[in-house]
């Protein structure tokens, strides 16, 4: 059984064999993966040791102290947070061996081809078609709101493979090669001025059947793994006090007494309390996860985080007074990182509006809590058993 001492020995051995000072970044990361120190709770041979998840912190701390390079989790968030758990749970041995290592080292960036212009909250209504031809599937359709598509080497793709089946049952999950000539990525300029997301057009894209994840027609069940992990990944990051969006506002308040008013003070204190309590709720969720008791709070943290970010950034714009009327830069950029707290107050205010839409709208998440956690009756669904091709669109 792996314990903290064992992990420290393994970490020391990795550092001795691959001194960070003289080892290149990709080489070190590959060695770390092979030593089972990438995500220690993953199985042996796949970057882990089958150890308790909580022990990861031990390895991370030792490696950080030694100045070892990291794999930039922010840049490869979709791969780490969504692709990895889905491939680990539903992939073949071959797929796990092929994809997990370059995913973790960041040599292959992932994106998620789920949402479509006609299927957002009602994701299972998606219409991108995949038709089987021998050992391949031919895919045609359009996806939207795809973060990182312009950087991604691989995509998680949901496509309809049986239009005669009810909408949840005719979907298949694929791993799509973004370098296929049929894949076209176009920037989608947003409310903030930048193009963080993309539209992706799929025209005659050829996906080998070996890149199907799970059974044909079983894609919705596979997607549930991705979606559940997405919500935890978006809202479940452990932070220190004032580590989130409340931090910049609190600093401005301290540094610029001339901006203070009594009304803003009361609102700031209220939001400070809510941010700190929400942070403790995430901390409690993490402690439960570490103790092997995953709770339903994952969906809760994402909801709370969305509302708080919007309220806090709204307050921040007001606090800045005349400066709040300015904006830092409307230039259309293509950011490499999604950073909700980056740039200035106006940007944070506009970007945070997406927090209650992306990764499941707040309204859908409230339904999920009401139905799965509280056990309240499900929404009436007239389309549930009808063939997808017969649904009104």
């Amino acid at each position: 059984m792996t314990d903290a001492d064992d992990l420290r020995r393994r970490t020391a051995a990795l550092l001795a064999a691959h001194p960070p000072g003289t080892t290149g970044r990709p080489e070190f990361l590959r060695a770390r993966f092979d030593a089972g120190l990438a995500w220690v709770h993953f199985p042996e041979g796949l970057g882990g040791l089958g150890a308790p998840r909580a022990l990861q912190a031990v390895a991370d701390a030792e490696l950080a102290a030694a100045g070892a390079p990291d794999n930039d989790p922010r840049r490869i968030g979709i791969g780490l947070g969504m692709a990895a758990p889905t491939i680990l749970r539903h992939g073949t041995e071959e797929q796990k061996r092929r994809f997990l290592r370059p995913l973790w080292t960041g040599e292959e960036v992932w994106c998620q081809l789920f949402s479509e212009p006609g299927a957002g909250s009602d994701l299972a209504a998606l219409g991108t078609r995949a038709v089987r031809r021998g050992d391949e599937w031919i895919v045609d359709g359009q996806k939207v709101w795809t973060s990182s598509a312009h950087l991604a080497r691989w995509a998680l793709l949901l496509a309809r493979t049986d239009p005669d089946a009810p909408k949840h049952r005719g979907i298949t999950y694929f791993l799509c090669d973004m370098t296929d000539p049929g894949v076209e990525v176009r920037p989608l300029r947003q409310i903030t001025g930048e193009a963080e997301f993309n539209e992706v057009f799929l025209t005659g894209v050829r996906i080998p059947d070996t890149h199907r994840l799970g059974e044909a027609g079983d894609g919705w069940r596979v997607a549930r793994t991705t979606l559940d992990n997405e919500r935890v990944a978006i809202g479940g990051t452990r932070l220190p006090r004032e580590g989130g969006m409340i931090g910049p506002v609190a600093r401005t308040w301290r540094e610029r007494p001339g901006l203070r008013t009594h009304d803003l003070h009361q609102r700031l204190l209220g939001l400070w309390v809510e941010a700190e309590v929400a942070r403790l709720a995430v901390e409690r969720l993490s402690q439960n996860l570490a103790a092997g008791r995953p709770g339903p709070e994952g969906a809760a943290t994402k909801l709370g985080f969305a509302r708080l970010n919007q309220e806090i950034s709204g307050l921040e714009v007001e606090l800045l007074g005349a400066e709040g009327l300015l904006y830092d830069d409307w230039t259309m950029r293509r950011p490499e990182l999604v950073d909700f707290t980056g740039r200035e107050a106006g940007y944070r205010y506009l970007r945070s509006k997406g927090n209650s839409i992306e990764g499941g709208t707040s309204e859908i998440l409230l339904n999920i809590i009401a139905e799965r956690v509280l056990g309240l009756p499900a929404e009436p669904r007239t389309d549930k058993d009808a063939a997808w091709k017969d649904l009104a669109r």
Binding site: A250, H265, V277, L376, P377
Partner: protein, 357 residues
């Protein structure tokens, strides 16, 4: 240290308290009792205090108690809040006990811990940690004056009275005229104490004793608020699954589902804040901030839960026979007890370095 989670021992304590309350604290009886001149259930209090040893939970073993920590007291308060049990645990086993722990009064402490006597701190219930409060006048070696809003004084035989000489005095309840007040929350009744030359034993300086008692009370009150909010949510969810209108359970309507899901979210946050305060009181780390944070959040969350419970119960929620009114009255009274949310936010302004203009 279990951090923000519950330890196995804490869960065992919870189960034992809940069992006892399930058997001896029925809502109908609490409602009936609240309508009488004796709202406290002293038989239940004896079972909890003597039988289970809960009166001495916070008292070290060598001073006659159970040697537990505020974390365990918090779990007890969750269960008492959930059952709306009319017993003086918070006022005697927490507030009066903490005040005595700050003094060298081991004889009285042991009596309180054993459940032989029940105590009350003679400070109005709405006073929070660090706030000013009225004091009795010391004149000719005896205590004089009128102190109002003292919680659970009618159930106490020992009154801890702060006097204008800066000391805390132990006063026998028989030496004081205790007049019940008609209260918003009849299950934690308030009373006026009239001291007319009452003799008292000087216990020590009142400032540190009162601060310690009110700080612990404010932090642990969040767990009582968590208990009552949890009851409000669970009972309402149960009701809306059963109650049918327009041909289906009203809990199937999205407008209600979203309100209940939001309530659940607040409950998740309230649990984190309450556990954090209990843990901070146990470890002594970051205590002032954790307590102020818990009270700044818990009052609003608990009142909201009780108000939503009433609304979503419809007409039955407005009746005397349904227990939801007990929870609403307690939630609203709790939102003033040991400092309002606003007072605690004010404390946080200093603690978090976010000063007023």
């Amino acid at each position: 240290m279990s951090g923000l989670l519950y330890s196995a021992e804490e869960e065992a304590l919870r189960a034992a308290v809940r069992d006892l309350l399930d058997d001896h604290c029925e809502a109908a009886a609490v409602i009936a009792r609240a309508d009488t001149a004796e709202p406290h259930d002293l038989a239940l209090w004896r079972r909890l205090a003597h039988g289970m040893g809960l009166a001495g939970l916070l008292v070290p073993e060598e001073r006659g108690g159970q040697g537990a920590s505020p974390r365990e007291a918090a779990v007890v308060l969750e269960e008492l809040g959930r059952a709306m049990a009319p017993v003086p645990f918070l006022t005697s086993a927490v507030v009066a006990t903490e005040a005595l722990l700050a003094c060298a009064a081991d004889g009285l402490l042991a009596e309180l811990a054993a459940g032989r006597r029940t105590g009350a701190l003679a400070v109005p219930l709405h006073v929070g940690p660090g706030a000013g409060h009225p004091r009795a006048r010391l004149s000719g070696g005896t205590l004089h004056g009128e102190l109002t809003g003292v919680a659970d004084a009618t159930a106490a035989d020992l009154l801890l009275v702060p006097a204008d000489d800066g000391a805390l005095y132990a006063v026998d309840a028989d030496a004081v005229t205790v007049t019940p007040q008609t209260c918003l929350d009849p299950t934690r009744p308030l009373a006026t104490l009239t001291l007319d030359g009452a003799p008292g034993d000087r216990l020590g300086s009142s400032g540190p004793a009162v601060d310690r008692a009110l700080g612990t009370a404010a932090g642990l009150l969040a767990s009582e608020q968590l208990g009552l909010a949890t009851w409000a949510l669970e009972e309402t969810v149960r009701h809306v699954k059963e109650r049918r209108q327009f041909g289906r359970p009203v809990g199937g309507f999205q407008a209600l589902k979203h309100r209940l899901a939001r309530l659940w979210l607040e409950n998740v946050n309230l649990r984190a804040a309450a556990r954090n305060a209990a843990d901070a009181l146990a470890t002594g780390e970051d205590t002032d901030t954790a307590v102020a944070l818990a009270q700044a959040y818990a009052s609003g969350a608990a009142v909201h839960a009780a108000e939503e419970a009433l609304q979503l119960h419809g007409g039955i929620g407005m009746t005397w026979e349904h227990p939801v009114h007990l929870y609403l009255k307690r939630a609203k009274a709790d939102s003033l007890a040991y400092g309002t949310a606003g007072a605690h936010r004010g404390a946080l302004a200093a603690l978090a370095d976010l000063p007023a203009p």
